[in-house]
Every structure is written in C-alpha cells, then in structure tokens.
C-alpha cells in the first residue's frame, strides 16, 4: 500500500511537471486583416511544432480601435505577451508602459542593426530596442500601362519633370472642363503627404525635420519650392485634383488615373484589377538624380506585463516572427517586403518587376518619427487645401503648417 502511494505520488509529480512544462500560454495581438491573420496562423503552427512546450493564442481586433484596445487591455492588466504595432506608436507605448525592451541577450543591438534594414532604428529608444519588424513597406509609382500606350508614352517617368509632362499629356477633360481621367492622383490624404514630406522636400534641397524629428524644418525656401511644385500639379499643370472619384486609389482601380503614388500595402487590392495592365516604378528622381522614399512598418514588441517563463516564450516567438523563414512566408502570404536585406534582396525578388522598385526604394528611404500620424497628416492636407480652396499663397500656407505641426510635436514631448 505504501509503495502504491509512493508510485502514485511520483506519477502525479511527473504529470504535474509535464503539464507545467507544456502549459506556457502566450497571447499575440494584431489587427484584423485577412492575409495577416492567415500568415500569423501559419507561423504559429510552425512555431508550436518546433516548440511543443509553448502555446500561442492569436487575438485580433479591428484596426479602427486596435490602439484603444491594446491600451485598455494593458490598463486592465491583461496586456498581451507579444503585440504587433505601428512603428509610429512606439513613443506613446513606451511612455505608457505598454512595452518592455527586448531582452538584450537574445536581441543585441549590433546584431539587429547588422541584420535589418537601417529603418529598424525607429524602434530604438536609448540603447534599447522595443520591437522588430517582420515586413516593411515603401512607396512607388503605380502606372496604368493601357493609358501610357494610348498616349504613346514608352515607360514610366524617371524624373519629376517627366512626371509632370506625362501626367499632363494623359489628363483628359470633357467639353464641360471636367476631368474624366487624371494624369496623376493628387491627394495629400492618401500617401502624398509621405511623398511630399520625405521625398519632395528633400529633392528640392531641404529636410522636413531635424535629425531627431523634434523640430519642423520644412518652412524654408526648399519646403516652399517642394510645396509649390506639388500644388502646381493641380493649379498650373492641371494633371488632377484632390477628390477626383473620391479617392486616388479608387480612380486608379477604375482606370481613370494614369499614375498614383502608393505603398506595398496597396498591391493586394490592385492585384484584382482585371480591366487593364499596370506596373510599378521607382519614385521619380529630381533633376540631379536624387531619389528618396518613405518606409514604414509594423513591428512586434513584447508586452510590459509579460514575465518569467511567459517572457521567455514571448522572446522566442518574437525571434521566430523576425526570422528569415517568417519573412519569406510573410512575403508569400501578405505580399509585404522582408525586413532583412538578406531575405529581401534576393535575385528572385530583385528580378520581380513589382517588388524590385519597392526594394530599391528601401535603400534610400527615410522613416518619419511621427508623434501622431493622423494629426500630422491633417496638417499636410490642410496646407494643400488652403492653397487649393482658399487661394492662400504657398509661403503662408507652409509657414502655417510648420507652426501647427511643431505645436503637435511639442505637445507630445
């Protein structure tokens, strides 16, 4: 009898420790977007196969209230172990105690900086990294090959001057003077504000912000010239206007815009276009051949509340999410570019006519450190609207925008 008890006790202990070992449950949070959820499901399956002692549960929320839910869950003490977040939210998430730094032993800074595209430093605060991306996004020029052929234009514009020239050739108006096709979509509310900020301002010889993004510096001759060039698209060259067919991407999809500037994330929706062929080109250079781009990404970070074996499991999962294998899968399922040059700049990808222009853009891209992307976008939209709708001079409008944006940055810091 005594022996039986001992055996039972032993068996019980073994079973208990076995369940304890297999019972590390961690939670992964991201927003709802079909292909992203699908990709993470596949990644979790592979990760769990390799790490049978860890269970990852994916929790998703609609994008519109994703940030609010993350913050609310964190306040309630139910913060996730690993979460996906836009790089632009880093400041508020770090200051708000949502994130903890990545463990330095597993993610040494030198290693990160050697392995990832330089834009990864937007996740660094002091000496600590607060997240790593799986995939990155950049901008490119989408163009409608059918409209180009109709106008007898051979290839995409290489320079800003060609861009204006081609766009004005392809813009069509009816007898009443209304556009039926625009040469280039003009929409600050789309990706144009990124194009204007990180590309045009630089191409006209300026810089949008100081190096640490704490001071607005586009209120100078270069900023005014860039803005003048941009607003001239509508007011002088008449290649298109804001609001045509509601949204630039809708106009392009409908075959009523010859060109539009948009990001990798638009590939999915443009791939269903059946009526015409389209292609992608690098953003045009200025007369001196200077190019620039805007890159952004969603990163994965570790929740501040994660500790002990959960923290260990979370770090392992995050390492897997930013591994070359995961990046390749992400590219295939979601269509976003890998965040490690070794995975991104493969021969196959560089030969791909669609990925290549975006990948080239990554080499010289800038990543704006936003304190509040929506509010800063609104500043750029209002700046253009004051010129378009109220006839304000470009100088005054740029000055007003710079002051408004500086106020937003100061408030957040």
């Amino acid at each position: 009898m005594k022996r039986f008890t001992k055996t039972a006790l032993l068996a019980g202990t073994i079973m208990a420790s076995a369940t304890a070992a297999s019972a590390v449950d961690i939670e992964y949070l991201q927003y709802i977007y079909d292909t992203r959820v699908e990709a993470v499901d596949q990644l979790i399956a592979k990760f769990e196969e390799a790490n049978p002692d860890i269970n990852v549960k994916q929790v998703t929320f609609p994008y519109a209230d994703y940030q609010t839910r993350v913050v609310a869950a964190n306040m309630a003490g139910n913060g996730p172990d690993v979460l996906q977040m836009f790089y632009g939210w880093t400041d508020s998430f770090v200051n708000g105690g949502v994130l903890q730094p990545l463990p330095k032993d597993m993610f040494p800074a030198e290693q990160i900086e050697a392995d990832f595209f330089p834009i990864v430093t937007a996740m660094k605060r002091g000496d600590d990294y607060y997240g790593l991306p799986t995939a990155v996004r950049s901008l490119a020029l989408f163009y409608n090959k059918a409209l180009f052929a109709e106008a007898g234009i051979e290839g995409p514009p290489e320079t800003l001057d060609q861009l204006v020239d081609y766009a004005s050739q392809m813009a069509v108006k009816d007898s009443g003077g209304n556009y039926t096709t625009v040469g280039l979509t003009v929409e600050m509310g789309g990706q144009d504000h990124q194009w204007w900020r990180e590309v045009l301002v630089r191409q006209f010889g300026g810089a949008p912000y100081s190096d640490d993004y704490s001071t607005v510096t586009y209120n100078d001759a270069a900023g005014v010239a860039a803005t003048q060039w941009y607003t001239d698209l509508t007011t002088k060259h008449e290649v298109g206007y804001t609001g045509f067919m509601d949204e630039g991407q809708a106009a392009f999809r409908a075959g009523r815009a010859a060109m539009t500037i948009d990001g990798t994330f638009r590939l999915g929706s443009f791939r269903d276009i059946a009526d015409f062929e389209w292609a992608v080109a690098e953003l045009p250079a200025n007369a001196d051949g200077l190019r620039s781009n805007y890159a952004s990404y969603f990163a994965n970070g570790i929740g501040a509340k994660s500790e002990g074996e959960e923290l260990e499991a979370a770090a392992k999962f995050l390492a897997y999410l930013s591994s070359p294998e995961a990046m390749q899968l992400w590219l295939e399922v979601v269509g976003e570019l890998p965040a490690r040059p070794e995975v991104a700049l493969t021969e196959a990808n560089l030969a791909d006519p669609i990925y290549a222009p975006f990948l080239k853009g990554l080499e010289y891209a800038h990543t704006t450190t936003f304190v509040e992307e929506q509010a800063q976008r609104q500043v750029a939209m209002d700046m253009a609207n004051r010129v378009f709708l109220q006839g304000q001079s470009v100088e005054e409008s740029v000055a007003e925008a710079a002051a408004a944006e500086q106020a937003i940055i100061d408030r957040a810091r």
Partner: protein, 304 residues
C-alpha cells in the same frame, strides 16, 4: 378554518401600498443600476477628468482649468463651435418646417397615404453610415457623382459639394435633415390627429378660413408636439456625427475642418490623440450647451 386568518410567518404584514412599491422598485432597480454604472457615473466622471491630463496610459494628473484654457484659446475649437451651431440654427427650423408642411398635407390626402408615409419614414430606419456613403457618392464630381453628372449633361457647371469650404456643411446638413424627416412627420401627424375634430367643425360652421384655422387652432394645439420635436431635433443636430464622419473620412471634418462638429472633435481628441482630459473638457462644454438649449427652449415654448 381559523388557521387561515393568521399569517404563516411571524413578520409584520406589509400594507398593500408598501408591497406594491417594493415590487415596482425591484423591477426598476435593474435599469437604475445599469444606468448608474454605464451612464451617470461616466457623465459625472467626465467632469473630474476634464481637470486632468490623461492619455489613457499614465495616471490622470490634475491640471486645474488648463484644458479649458487651451480649448477656449484654440481657433479650431471656435470653428467647430460655429459649425455645430450652424447645424443647429439652420437645420432645426428647416427640418421642422418641412416636416410640418409634409405632415399637414399628407394628413389631408387619402390616396397613397400609407405608401407616402412609409416612403418618408424609410430614411429614418436606414443605417446612418450607409446613407452617408450613398450621399457621399451622389455628391462626387463627374463622372462618378449622379448630381454633377446630371448638371454636366444639361450644360451646367459642377458643384464641389463636399470639397468646397462653403458648401460642404450645407451638403451634409441636407442629408441629416432628410434622415430625420420621417420621424418628425410621424410625430407631427400623430399630433394633428389628436386635435379634436369638433374644433374644426365649429370653425367651419363659423366660416373661418383655412389659414385662420391653421393659425388659431392647429398650431396652438400642436404646441406640445412642436416643443418635443424642437428639443429632440436640436439635440440631434448638436450631436451630429455619423453623417459627417462617414461622408468625410478622406479628410475627417471636411476641407479645412469646415464640416467638423463638436462630437467629431471630441472623438478625434479622445481616440486619435488620446488626450482624454481635453476630450472630457469638450464633452463638458457639449453637455452644458445641450442642457442650456433644452432648458431655454422649454422656457420659451412653455405654456403660459
């Protein structure tokens, strides 16, 4: 049997009245509790939060009247304030006048009465966001927008509607008026029906004209209905959000903020900027305006 006359319990017998009160309160307790937790407590808490700096993540820090000072000093706030009152001051009278006229004439016809009434009521039961999007497309420039395409085909110029700093607000207001019309018509018709026919018969016998009947009988007797609708419609216009939000998602609040109402500003401050304290201060202002306007209207239209 003698046993039946005494209560099985030793507790004192409650009077019928007390027992009924207990029953009533037992049933009312749930909604009262519910409202206290999800309505009254947050409302009162908003006043407290309006004196703090809180971004949801940190602890709310008491900053006194700073939020109010910032708000009253901001040009954007006053623009939004003017927009909100434009919705109210233009929207309420027009929607009431229209709904009264329609109800007045609809009340007199028999042919197609039910059908027409249903037709007017339809927008009221349609989701505001769906309607917002339909109208958004109506208002597009040619070749997408129906209105501009028609204008174009008869050789007239285009109207910018939502892209114009002048016309964006009226364009949105039209859809809000249209959406609320059905409800107001139904209420007005119920009010018209409740006026006793004998007054009209007496007036007819005395040979009073239609306009005099309207002025001396219908309108005065319709006053309770009108008061209700004025207050109801004013609150609706002061709280306008769905239409504006859905029709201007490209540039939230219209070009240069020309259509932005207070509620959208509160939404943006709270859920885009996460400045909960400032948003609470804006909410307190909205609450005060709603309270003041409602009381003012009740006082103006009171029965003397």
């Amino acid at each position: 049997m003698a046993m039946d006359t005494t209560s099985p319990q030793s507790a004192p017998r409650l009077s019928m009245r007390t027992r009924r009160a207990i029953w009533v309160w037992a049933f009312l307790a749930l909604p009262v509790l519910f409202y206290s937790v999800i309505r009254f407590y947050p409302t009162i808490d908003a006043f407290r939060l309006s004196f703090t700096d809180w971004n949801l993540m940190s602890k709310p820090a008491y900053i006194g009247l700073q939020n109010y000072r910032d708000m009253f000093a901001s040009a954007e706030f006053w623009k939004v304030f003017r927009n909100t009152f434009a919705y109210l001051i233009i929207g309420t009278p027009i929607s009431l006048l229209l709904s009264f006229l329609i109800a007045y004439f609809l009340d007199r016809i028999r042919f197609g009465h039910t059908f027409l009434r249903a037709l007017y009521f339809l927008p009221f039961i349609t989701t505001a966001s769906a309607m917002g999007w339909v109208w958004r497309w109506f208002y597009q420039p040619a070749p997408t927008g129906v209105i501009n395409s028609v204008l174009g085909s008869v050789g007239m110029g285009q109207l910018d509607f939502l892209r114009s700093t002048t016309w964006a607000l009226p364009s949105i207001m039209v859809t809000a008026i249209w959406a609320g019309l059905g409800f107001q018509i139904i209420i007005f018709m119920a009010g018209l029906r409740s006026i006793p026919q004998t007054y009209y018969e007496a007036a007819k016998i005395d040979g009073v004209g239609d306009f005099a009947i309207l002025r001396k009988i219908t309108l005065p007797l319709l006053k309770p209905t009108t008061v209700f609708l004025v207050v109801f419609s004013s609150i609706g216009f002061l709280r306008i959000f769905d239409q504006v939000y859905n029709m201007t998602t490209n540039d939230p609040g219209g070009p240069l903020g020309t259509t932005k109402p207070l509620v959208l500003m509160i939404y943006q401050t709270a859920f885009n900027s996460y400045q909960m304290g400032a948003a609470a201060a804006q909410t307190v202002v909205l609450f005060t305006i709603l309270l003041f306007i409602s009381l003012l209207q009740l006082w103006i239209l009171r029965t003397r």
